[in-house]
Symmetry: C2
C-alpha cells in the first residue's frame, strides 16, 4: 500500500447544502444565483469551502446560517462527490448536506442579500456542476428518512393540520395518499397531540391543529418503538 502522497494530491474540500422547506402545498428548495464565473448567473446550491479550523459539520452549519440566519435545524451529511472535473476551475471534493427547515423561520432579508430564492421541487431550474445529482440523492434520502423517522415534522410549523401533514408526505413521497388510510396510520403511531385550537383559514368549520409530541416519541423509541409511515 502506498502511504506516500504529494502535496499536489491535496484537494479543495467544499460543502454544499440542499436546503428544503415546505410551504403548506409544496416541497421547496433554496437556491442562489451564482455571481461569478464560471457559470455566472446560473442557479446553484449554497456552498462554501472547508476551512482549516472547522469540521465538515461546522462548515455546513456556517453556510446554512449565512443564508438563512438559522442554526440548530435538522441537517444530515449526505454524500461525498468527487468527479475529477466536477468543478472546472480546480479539483474540489464536495461533501453535500441536506437540511430541513420550517420555511417561516428563516430570515428573508438574507435571501435578497445572496440573490437566493425558493423553488418548488417540481420546477427546479438548470443547476451548476453536479448539483442536480446532489439534489436527487437528497430527495431519495429524504424519502427513506421520512418513512422511518419523524424528520418530516421539522418542515412543518409547530402546530399543523392533518391536511398539512398529509400534503407534506405526499410531496416528499411524490404520490397521492388515501386520506382515511393516512389518518389511521398516523393515529396508530400515537405520537401527536390533538389541540383544542383550530386553524380557521382553510374552511368555515376549521381544522383541528396538532403538535408532534417529541418527548412521547422518544420515550416510545426507548421502549422499542419504530416509526413507520
Amino acid at each position: 500500500m502506498d502511504y506516500n502522497y504529494n502535496q499536489e494530491d491535496k484537494a479543495l474540500v467544499a460543502v454544499d447544502c440542499i436546503i428544503f422547506g415546505f410551504d403548506e402545498d409544496d416541497l421547496k428548495l433554496l437556491l442562489i444565483k451564482r455571481g461569478f464565473e464560471p457559470e455566472m448567473g446560473k442557479w446553484s446550491l449554497m456552498g462554501g469551502f472547508l476551512k482549516k479550523n472547522e469540521t465538515l459539520d461546522e462548515a455546513a452549519n456556517r453556510v446554512l446560517q449565512t443564508l438563512t440566519g438559522l442554526d440548530e435545524v435538522y441537517m444530515e451529511q449526505l454524500y461525498g462527490f468527487s468527479k475529477i472535473d466536477r468543478d472546472p476551475v480546480e479539483r474540489t471534493i464536495s461533501v453535500a448536506y441536506y437540511a430541513l427547515i420550517n420555511i417561516n423561520d428563516h430570515n428573508p432579508k438574507l435571501l435578497d442579500q445572496h440573490s437566493a430564492q425558493w423553488f418548488s421541487i417540481g420546477d427546479i431550474p438548470p443547476l451548476i456542476f453536479d448539483h442536480h445529482e446532489m439534489l436527487n440523492k437528497a430527495l431519495r434520502r429524504l424519502r427513506r428518512r421520512t418513512s422511518t423517522n419523524p424528520v418530516g415534522f421539522e418542515l412543518l410549523p409547530k402546530k399543523f393540520t392533518m391536511r398539512q401533514l398529509q400534503k407534506l408526505y405526499e410531496v416528499i413521497l411524490d404520490e397521492e395518499l388515501d386520506k382515511r388510510n393516512f389518518q389511521k396510520k398516523i393515529k396508530q403511531l400515537d405520537v401527536l397531540v390533538k389541540l383544542k385550537e383550530k386553524d380557521m383559514t382553510s374552511s368555515r368549520k376549521g381544522s383541528f391543529l396538532y403538535e408532534f409530541d417529541k418527548e412521547k416519541y422518544e420515550k416510545k423509541v426507548s421502549d422499542g418503538f419504530t416509526f413507520k409511515m
Copy 2:
C-alpha cells in the same frame, strides 16, 4: 458568502475501507497492522490517499483490491470524517466506505503481505484514530441495509444453508432469531431457489442448499416489491 480560499485550506483526502466478511459463524472485519509512526503496531482499517486523477469510489476500490485481490464487490460510501486533529500528522479528511465480501473469495497471500488479519466483530482490538467511530457507523448502516435490501447475500457463498442465512442475520442484527419465524419470513420474500443439492457437513441427514435468485428479485422490485427482514 466567502468564495475565496487559501491554498493552505486544501486538505489531504483519504479513503478508509471497512471490509466485512462472514465465515459461517461470525461477522468479521479485516484490519491491517500499521507499519509506521504514529501509532505503529496498532490495528487500522485499510486506507489510502485520494490521488489527483481518481474519484473517491475509484480510490476505495483500489484500496480494497490491493488488500483482497477483489473488485466488483458490494461497496458503499459511508460518511466523511473530518475532526481537525483526527490524523495527528496533517489535516486529513477521510471518506469511509464499507464493503461486503465473501470471505472465501479473497486472496489470502495478500493478507500476509499487508500484515492483515480477520477479527470477529465481537473481538475488535483497539484501532487508530477515529476508526472505531467509522466501524460503528458502518455496523449501523449494515443493519439498516440488510433489513431493507438483500445485501446480506453478498457475504454468503453462492450456495448456502438456511442455518447459515439465519446465522448471518443474527450476527448482523446482534440478536437471536426464532428459527420458525425466520424461515417463514424468508419463504414469504420468495427470492430464494431451493436446490436439490445438500450440504452434508453439518449433519448426517444434510441440509438443503439455497441460492439467491437475483433476477427474480429484480423483477419483483420493478413490480413494486420491497425486501423486508
